[in-house]
């Protein structure tokens, strides 16, 4: 984005020039002439004042003021500025250094000291102990040297080590805050306030106190705090927090609104439909919080290693000291041991996994995918096989009219008559007929005397003549003629897994006769094929585990391109099947709708529920995709893999770096200040490496007309053309 060259910099009001750039500050686009101005403007006009953060910064600022002066004077002393004639001022300089270092060590060391103390009381040694011990040793030695008027001073080491570690911690914190940016709106549900309208009085109340039936006012730009119905006003809402779909939806009085969505442009009065804690948003909030709280297996291993690390390093530092003291003066040996302690500080290891997790969880959440535990992403990344439940996951979950075999009548007439009859039925097939009639532009003919024959079909009267629809058995029962050709074609249909319905009627008072056979099937989702292809492109085996009969399962497996299928499985059998696959392929993931395949989802290494409307708290899935979110699955897998590889890279880096630096330190090749800088740099690198996850491409949805064309009833559902899905192609690469 480049602003016009004659524009003025928002901050310094000078012309921005050709190289100016734009940034968004507080939601509005601003033009700046240089980066410094951009930063300065943000500092000046940005909002937010958390006093704790400010206090920390005061400490950091004053601490760096002191340490920088100590460092400066020490540099001067080292560089020999006070040699020669100025030698007599040296003791004064030393006293000055001591005077600066004492508050610096107190100010900067206090947080580390209190952490060490509180952990030590619980019998644990943390990395803070290393820092505290190292810097206090340097400070103590130098203080002695000042008052005994002899020896080298290491105040710069003491204060700079503390300074660099403080800075490192702060940058880590900032990195974490940045990593959890996407999660903030999801976690806001618990602290949200609602403007409740009672007796014409507006009151701000916590959401959890809101009960069903209360009236809530929501101003433009605010987040809607509860699920409910609009009583008054109209506006556009952005439901992206809940559905993952970011586009304004027009809503007016009578429409339902979801908690968590943003009211974009009009004031709304909403009648709450349930208490504040019951909204899906609040549930999501709980679930995300829980996911962040749990640590994954990798994290636990890393933590355990770190726990063992500290005592080992202390011992190593002692050995180093004892070795060098026989060869070097006391202060040099002390310094070497100090380097060992400082450089072994495993800060980056502790940071490696949680940041990548919260970034990954946040990215997925932005697209409506909920991760319910931190380990789920790593498990998914390691999965080699994905099992799909058929009904409602890969398929639409409701039958559609697929084929009509007629015997001497027009298809249109068959559909018209059947639609007339089925209008009186609640059966699943009735909806399919109505849809098919609608798609063909056929108006149903009025039918009278409609009777439902349970388990067999329907009969009634159209145009004064009897008509019936149902199984072959019904036709025989009525004594109507079943033409052998029709029966044969119906047999073919049934063999390929379709449900078959015969339609017959009397004409001109002749004997009844079956005139057509209609086949219905649960069709695969339009995006199923592309999704399965993309998953296979990612090196995953795709299998179908269905409770339906073999014909139907085979057909769906064939259409979507699955590697394998098993049919007729009861929930128990699905578990057995999963066990078999696990033995052969390693970790397995199971995708279901979360309704009737709970046991399967729980049994798999990772359970993925698609578009589940059930109570989140009771779900067994580790990962929940939004409604109609099957197409997101390849992207989710790619994200999970990116998260895992980031974590592994972080750990490899942190440990490798620590070990290499430790070796240098033991050999006495590393100055403590340099060691501290190296350590702060290592945690910064871990932060930056994790933040790379932010820049991964978002999911790609096959375009709407493409899907609509594929989804049109009656047409053969084909995959969206593959050349047109760059993201899927990318995922395969």
């Amino acid at each position: 984005m480049t602003p016009p060259p004659n524009a003025l910099c928002r901050h310094c009001l000078l012309p921005v020039g050709r190289r100016g750039f734009m940034r968004t500050v507080n939601g509005e686009g601003c033009q700046f002439c240089c980066y410094g101005c951009c930063i300065a403007h943000q500092v000046k006009s940005g909002s937010g004042d958390a006093s704790e953060a400010a206090w920390f910064l005061v400490r950091l600022g004053v601490g760096s003021f002191l340490s920088m002066n100590i460092m400066l004077f020490s540099l001067l002393v080292y560089s020999g500025a006070f040699n020669g004639a100025d030698r007599r001022v040296l003791p004064t300089i030393h006293l000055l250094l001591w005077g600066l270092a004492t508050p610096a060590v107190l100010i900067l060391g206090q947080p580390f000291l209190s952490e060490t103390w509180s952990q030590a009381r619980r019998g644990r040694l943390t990395s803070s102990a290393l820092i505290v011990l190292g810097s206090l040793a340097a400070y103590g030695y130098s203080t002695l040297a000042v008052f005994q008027r002899g020896g080298h001073l290491y105040f710069d080491t003491a204060s700079m080590v503390l300074m660099l570690f403080t800075l490192g911690r702060y940058l880590e914190a900032a990195g974490r805050a940045r990593a959890s940016r996407d999660l903030a709106p999801l976690l806001a549900a618990e602290s949200e306030l609602a403007t409740v309208l009672e007796d014409d009085q507006e009151q701000r109340r916590p959401v959890r106190e809101v009960r069903a039936g209360m009236l809530i006012r929501v101003r433009p730009g605010e987040r809607i705090p509860i699920d409910g119905l609009i009583v008054e006003g109209s506006s556009h809402c952005d439901d992206s927090v809940i559905t993952g779909e970011s586009r304004p939806i027009a809503k007016a009085a009578g429409a339902t609104v979801l908690a968590g969505s943003i009211n974009l442009d009009g004031p709304l009065l909403i009648e709450s439909s349930g208490s504040g804690g019951e909204s899906r948003w609040a549930q999501i909030c709980c679930s995300v919080r829980e996911a962040l709280r749990q640590s994954s297996r990798t994290q636990r291993i890393a933590d355990r290693l770190v726990g063992a690390f500290v005592p080992i390093v202390l011992a190593l530092a002692a050995v180093t000291f004892l070795y060098w003291i026989q060869r070097l003066p006391l202060d040099q040996a002390l310094l070497t041991a100090l380097s060992v302690m400082v450089v072994a500080c495993p800060c980056a290891v502790g940071l490696a996994a949680p940041m990548a997790h919260s970034l990954g969880i946040g990215q997925l959440a932005r697209h409506g995918c909920l991760v319910r535990n931190a380990g789920a992403l790593e498990a998914l990344a390691g999965a080699r096989l994905i099992a799909f439940d058929k009904t409602g996951t890969l398929t639409l979950g409701r039958p559609q009219l697929v084929d009509i075999a007629s015997d001497g009548v027009l298809e249109g007439e068959v559909v018209a008559r059947l639609a007339a009859l089925e209008r009186h039925s609640e059966h699943g097939l009735a909806r399919a007929i109505a849809l098919a009639a609608g798609a063909r532009g056929i108006d149903p003919i009025p039918a009278v005397d409609v009777q439902i024959l349970p388990g067999r079909g329907l009969r009634g009267v159209v145009h004064g003549e009897a008509i019936a629809a149902g199984s072959a058995a019904l036709m025989r029962e009525l004594g109507w003629v079943l033409p052998p050709a029709l029966l044969e074609r119906a047999g073919v249909m049934a063999a390929s897994g379709h449900s078959v319905v015969f339609v017959g009627w009397r004409e001109n008072a002749s004997a009844g006769r079956a005139r057509a056979a209609l086949s219905f099937d649960d069709t695969p989702l339009p995006e199923a094929r592309a999704t399965v292809d993309a998953l296979r492109g990612l090196g995953l085996q795709v299998v179908l585990l269905s409770g339906d009969h073999a014909g139907a399962a085979a057909r769906v497996a064939d259409t979507v391109g699955a590697d394998d299928w098993q049919a007729g499985l009861l929930p128990e059998a699905k578990r057995t099947a999963l066990d078999q696959y696990r033995a052969r392929h390693g970790a397995v993931a199971m995708v279901g709708d979360g309704l009737n395949d709970g046991p399967g989802l729980a049994w798999a290494d990772i359970g993925i529920a698609v578009g589940s409307a059930t109570d989140l708290a009771r779900e067994t899935a580790d990962l929940v995709l939004p409604v109609d979110g099957l197409w997101l699955l390849p992207w989710v897998v790619a994200q999970a893999r990116a998260v895992r590889s980031t974590i592994l890279a972080n750990l490899a880096w942190a440990f490798g770096y620590n070990l290499a630096a430790l070796t240098c330190a033991v050999l006495g090749l590393l100055q403590p200040i340099l060691a501290a800088a190296v350590m702060a740099g290592s945690s910064l690198l871990v932060v930056l490496n994790s933040l790379r996850l932010e820049r991964l491409p978002g999911p790609y949805h096959p375009s709407v007309p493409e899907l609509a064309a594929a989804a049109r009833p009656g047409s053969e559902p084909g995959p969206p053309a593959q050349g047109r899905s760059p993201a899927l192609a990318l995922l395969k690469a």
């Binding site: 310094c12 009001l13 930063i39 943000q42 937010g48 400010a54 005061v58 600022g61 004053v62 540099l75």
Partner: protein, 243 residues
């Protein structure tokens, strides 16, 4: 002495650029409720913080210069030659680099910018948030801390001066060079804090040009030190050479 006077003047001229950027901070820091004395103290502390960061950076740059020179030409360790004495190979190389850097910076003040190479993204945004948090706080520690952190904000003027400090090949000279520059920015910034209002853009534009010219001259002189054969001293001496 003339050398540091030159840097002081560069700082003074450059502070018209500072007013555009950091002057906003001085204004935002604003008056203290406890009266004029407290307000002055607040602003002096802020500027002291800034100055100490500059000195630190200058000293560090000088030390780095010294380190590079001794590494490149061992055995020729000498007191800072600054503008007077002849240079060895390492010092020449460093002087050329520093001079070129300063010239690029100076040109940027005239609107001829090179690529935006300043650090981007995470680090700076963190610094921004930090500074923002500090502005609202009372007490005397906050302005000091604010000044210290402010000194680390990316600024072409400071970069140019750091390059200059590095080309002194000495901790003390580097530190003093930055101190002279920092002190030069004092008057304008203190006045800014007192008035609490920004100068008209046209005036600031002139100040920026002036600062650019000074840096350009300094850059050219530094560059020439690296290129010219032996340069005779022209009275630009270190203060302690007189002592």
């Amino acid at each position: 002495m003339t050398y540091f006077a030159l840097l002081f003047i560069a700082g003074f001229a450059g502070s018209f650029h500072c007013i555009g950027m950091c002057g906003g901070f001085a204004c935002a820091l604003g008056p203290d409720g406890r009266g004029a004395g407290a307000t002055s103290l607040r602003h002096v502390l802020y500027n002291t913080g800034r100055l100490s960061t500059y000195c630190f950076l200058g000293g560090l740059a000088g030390a780095l210069g010294q380190l590079i020179c001794t590494a490149l030409a061992p055995g020729t360790q000498r007191a800072a030659p600054l503008l007077s004495a002849s240079l060895d190979v390492g010092q020449r190389a460093l002087a050329v680099i520093a001079g070129l850097l300063m010239i690029v910076m100076a040109l940027s003040f005239f609107g001829l910018r090179g690529r935006h190479w300043v650090m981007n993204g995470f680090g700076s945004s963190t610094l921004v948030v930090s500074l923002r948090r500090l502005l609202g706080r009372h007490g005397f520690a906050a302005p000091l801390a604010f000044g210290v952190l402010n000194g680390f904000l990316p600024c072409p003027l400071v970069y140019a001066m750091i390059a200059q400090a590095a080309s002194t090949f000495n901790v003390l000279s580097g530190c003093l060079a930055m101190a002279a520059f920092g002190l030069g920015t004092f008057p304008a910034m203190l006045v800014m804090g007192g008035i609490g209002r920004l100068l008209a853009p046209s005036w600031r534009q002139r100040g920026v040009r002036l600062a650019g010219s000074f840096i350009l001259v300094l850059g050219l002189v530094t560059l020439s030190r690296g290129i010219m054969p032996k340069m005779a001293g022209h009275g630009l001496h270190l203060p302690w050479h007189f002592a």
